[in-house]
Point group: D2
Chain length 152, copies 4
């Protein structure tokens, strides 16, 4: 499950493969529109993990990364059983906001595109952090480098 | 659960009350960002129901209303146990697109604001309908009238 | 949403009404087997609430009520749009174990029957409590009394 | 994601690895009791897939495999971020009932044990099938053989 940082995994995007399971579907036999959010969150967590950060450790250290806004466009519904590629990449930091871009694809077809913004929060104070915590900053740098590499 | 169309229920908005239950929460003790989508969908379905349309019947008649895009802003996290007012109203029709606006509140505090756009689909053809089906058009008119009334 | 303790609400069972919404369904157009667990949890929380206990307050006071085992029988699948009556009652205490019984019905038809057992945990110690906390004991007594009353 | 049938993958059990993600957790920072059902379903689907059956194809051919009963015991709560091994195996067929056994473990610790029973349904008739459909029978045999092999 855990991805390894390498140009081939990246090529600009971090890839998180899933299958559309029965519990992801609705009455239409396709993935329910809200179920994509779970996949997107998993892709974010695994991308950070690949960059050396455990999200659970981050939370244990008093830092949280709540979603502050989210935009999704649904192009084609993913059908039950399909193999899905949840692709994500981090846009350049906008002050202290992490902007994740998403493309969710099945064999080349773009099904969902999305943007999700997070901020770093000091859990004890319940406030947005004024500067990026060093542990997170380092991981974001690693992701930026990995994203910029081309596959050989 | 089913709401009755009246100025007091409306006053511009349809109100769908819920409580933040344990299964809606995440490790932070607050509602997980994706859980709001279920509440928003329930509010839409109940608003249509109050206007005389059963969503299940609509689907049985070959019409679907998939989400085509969605924008959410998270202002304040809802805490476990809080009583929540999921408010929704329909913006004026933009061609054949249903634009639902949302405000999710706890005792006067705005927690989430959102916009969700749906289109009517012919399930058999898998295509967007060129004209609004009469059954749906009638319900949308009823919602528009209810929304415009002021409480006495 | 909050139910009031009275013989008519009870008649042996606490009733929690829901509708089968699109997000509860799977590819079969019926409620996904795991979705019933959310309804069952909500019914438990609202039953305690009606007996004077806020589950969120209980957790804030350091007491948790995790599920230790669960048995479900699926008789008839609930269809999208159906009005559902999630009925629950507390079996007589078995030492310190809360055994909740469930019947999930649509217009008289039994769809799911279940039993769910919980124990009271001291959150700080992470251990099962040796005696029922007084706040919980009082609520359980109130539920027992309400369950034993007949509607007039 | 798709597992390959081999004694090492099996050794009696089919292994489906997951990570406990934020959306799986509740206010306690651990996996919500109902979230295990999604993992268990995924493990079943992937086990059948490894044996040559696509669950989505099965449904498309008019066969469904609904859950008829389920028993779960919760021993230790899985914490956010933990790597989890969802293990499943098929008990010998009991007439036409598929009985799946589960052990959900984190680094050697047994967290949840469960049994889930399914029956094959003719989707058009809405009735339990009187004999196992050949496509399913073949896959079940392959699983039985894989389960009986020892790793070399």
């Amino acid at each position: 499950m855990v991805k390894i940082l390498s140009p081939s995994t990246y090529n600009g995007w971090f890839h998180f493969p899933v299958r559309a399971q029965p519990h992801n579907t609705d009455y239409g036999g396709v993935v329910w529109h809200g179920a994509y959010l779970s996949w997107m969150e998993s892709a974010r967590v695994e991308c950070l993990q690949a960059a050396g950060i455990s999200f659970a450790d981050l939370v244990a250290e008093g830092i949280d990364l709540p979603v502050v806004n989210m935009y999704l466009r649904y192009h084609v519904a993913v059908k039950m059983g399909e193999a899905v590629d949840v692709m994500t990449r981090l846009a350049p930091l906008e002050r202290l906001r992490l902007n994740w871009e998403y493309e969710i694809r099945t064999t080349g077809k773009l099904c969902v595109s999305a943007q999700v913004s997070l901020v770093a929060i000091d859990r004890a104070k319940g406030k947005v952090m004024r500067s990026m915590p060093p542990i997170l900053e380092k991981a974001l740098e690693r992701i930026a480098i990995a994203q910029s590499k081309q596959p050989t």
